[in-house]
Assembly symmetry: C3
Homo-oligomer: 335 residues x 3
């Protein structure tokens, strides 16, 4: 296994070793340059700030060069289906795209969001998996339709940095947003928190459950690591005694393809599901987390995100350090 | 003060020291690499050739890495207003954007043009100032709604390079253009010329005066540095005896929000206000300057821009050298 | 001569020397860094994957920095006509654009596709030639309206790599495509194959001949190098005994400006002109080549492109090596 597609491909021990490595980069203890003189491609089907900047800088700090490509923007549009007769709008097949990049680069990072159009198709992460299938060099998932493992690893590093290595009450809480968003971040956060053995609570209103197959994996991993998983529709109860509040909006699986129905269904939850000072007061002096970008006074109030409880900037900084650890690992001989 | 937002934050002596440093880079005397192994972010809300290329190359020549971000293009759209309820089209607040970038980079350059929609708002340079307010690392102005200090410093370097350090008759002359343009370049050129103690003449037709507050600052700085400031609507008189002709088009403050009115008002000035051979013949063998990009045979005739008097390419080259001086200074301990 | 615009500016010996140099880079024998500490600009008027990635990485492997500019995208739109009154939508003239870049960079690569609107104008490669006319540093053609010499050199290197240096039966075969495409690749491939002394066959249906002036040059160069040139409308006969099948679609000169007529004319050729297993069986165990991106099951069947005969990925890899050879040569003192 040479790719980094989801944390579930790794054991809890392996995840902790990656976090250890990230702390060595952050602390300036590890200054190794395993990518010296080499290139890594970053393929963005969707816009990016943190990922683009932190990957580019991480690669350069590891001694290498980042090559950024934006298919559909400054490059071509890509077909990923096997056997397609390509007489439509797609100009190149992933089969050629990734094999050519693999001749120029040591690894390929790829970002490809869910389009929120077809749950049954998108839940299988088809574009990410086409990259992994055809590539002869390691693929690093920079957020796919269903997973954002670099973010999840930065999240786990941040929890350990702020609260230590003990089991914590970690709450993933849905929030209203003016349009349906992908589930990659909540999926990966919940999965990684379960793998880390935390006491995970997932709070969302009716209709916003995560995918069934993923919930099964999460439950298994929690059991294996001595953690727990709880699901609730009571946001106040969720906040009670929490050590970590992780806010995130996502779209409902049942409304993939009909965003207007999702917006109608969620309208009633706007006021109740925002993270505000009142709800934070119920917690065990919890830290507030979000992957960014965040819509202020929609997902979270200014009062909370600007409070000392907010660790969102540290969390974003840790993206840089974990990604350096991931790249070093993926490109090492023993991975 | 760690930012570089406008030349008026610096004394004339400090500006001259920056120009001295730029000459040392240009002459190959200074080969220091104060950014070695570090990154600087360049945030472009608007397109760029000279600034993008010269900043990227300048950073690399100083030993560092440039990270280019284009919010709204390949990245997110940004909110800058305090307390906003972000349920519209803006996906991230400057407060998070710049603090995250500050964790990855040593400094942030930002380009954000005037939209020419609302004079009272844009004259305060709100986006640039939001960057400066929230950032924990130095902000470098790569052209904001009201200032383009990197350009102005390159302009002053070019005048000194071509004509020496003495006080010169320096004419900033408005020109017709098929659409209203921002005032950042004329503002910063006039301000810097006044700070350098030149005999500044600003020529424009009725209605195209610069902002009142800026004109007050310009007058004060000219007085302090032994220079002079004159305003005229007579373009022929302005050219008489000039040592420097600096052509630039800009929109009228009164027509912010109504570009069609500006175009109607300016139509009559097209023929009269172009820089041509006849007008150049009135000068004291003046050099011709423009910040580029320039529309040939609209702002200036081919005959003038292709003549030996034209120094526009040297002026553009000097952007590289002054920006290296600015970055070195901004990142130095004593700034 | 300091530019690299078309292979016809070079002798067969010079082309072979460039290929020799490319093999030294590929084999790791040549690790020189002739661009150390310097910058090369890459100007893309059109999208790019292979060229962008391979040029950027090639420059970095030669020790330098790539500066990527996209006029019309993240930069300005450019005028190239002499004497133009620039009161339309073009914001800068090539005269300023390239001279400024030349102050920052050692060389300028430029990609500018044919628009397929006006044959008489585009056949003269006006934008590429405006770059060459005004630039004070070498211009490298990264695919212009009429030529793609970097591709052609990689193609010749690949033929030598796979089949040795002997004269081969090299077939350039037209294919159906859902829209008319530029002729730069077939032009440059045919020209370079003739210069290399191959036995060149160009196969296309009625109406799709290459330009007359180019065909004259091809015939002359073939004669000079001991090669041959044949044109046929019989695709089966073309494949008989071929050593190399090079598939490419292009638009008809006569239909520049009327793409719908081209599409109507070509519709009848779709089934017959695809490269499939049956046609490949007629060859002398030929290798299959294409410049990529390629539309699977339109230009070529999955069966052929996925077979051992297909060398398209090696061909794309060789872009990197020949471009390093070209840049080294162009920037060397003796070129």
């Amino acid at each position: 296994m040479k790719n980094f597609l989801t944390t579930s491909d790794l054991t809890s021990d392996q995840l902790n070793q990656l976090i250890d490595a990230a702390f060595r980069f952050k602390g300036g203890v590890d200054n190794s340059q395993p990518v010296a003189g080499k290139s890594i491609a970053l393929v963005f089907f969707n816009p990016s700030l943190r990922t683009r900047a932190s990957m580019q800088i991480g690669i350069q700090e590891l001694g290498g060069h980042a090559v950024i490509l934006e298919p559909g923007g400054t490059s071509w549009t890509l077909e990923h289906r096997e056997g397609a007769v390509m007489d439509g709008d797609k100009t190149e097949h992933v089969a050629e795209f990734v094999r050519v990049l693999g001749r120029y680069c040591e690894a390929i990072g790829v970002r490809t969001f869910a389009a929120l159009k077809n749950w049954d198709e998108e839940r299988t992460d088809p574009i990410l998996n086409a990259f992994a299938k055809h590539s002869e060099v390691p693929i690093i998932n920079l957020e796919s339709a269903m997973q954002h493992p670099c973010q999840a690893l930065a999240d786990m590093m941040t929890i350990r940095e702020k609260l230590g290595s003990e089991r914590k009450r970690v709450v993933l809480t849905w929030a209203w947003h003016p349009k349906p968003l992908p589930m990659a971040v909540p999926n990966s956060f919940a999965l990684a928190a379960a793998q880390m053995g935390h006491d995970l609570v997932i709070a969302y209103p009716t209709g916003y459950e995560l995918g069934e197959a993923l919930m099964e994996t999460i439950t298994q991993r929690a059991a294996a690591s001595g953690g727990g998983v709880q699901v609730t529709k009571n946001i106040d109860a969720a906040f009670d005694g929490a050590d970590v509040i992780y806010a995130k909006s996502w779209g409902a699986k049942q409304f993939y393809g009909t965003p207007e129905k999702d917006l109608a269904a969620r309208a009633q939850y706007r006021e109740q599901w925002i993270v505000d000072e009142q709800k934070m007061a119920r917690t065990n002096r919890a830290i507030f987390m979000h992957c960014l970008p965040v819509r202020r006074n929609v997902i979270v109030t200014d009062g909370v995100i600007d409070s000392p409880a907010s660790v969102v900037i540290d969390q974003a900084e840790n993206r840089l350090h974990v990604q350096k650890a991931i790249m070093s690992k993926v490109l090492s001989a023993e991975y």
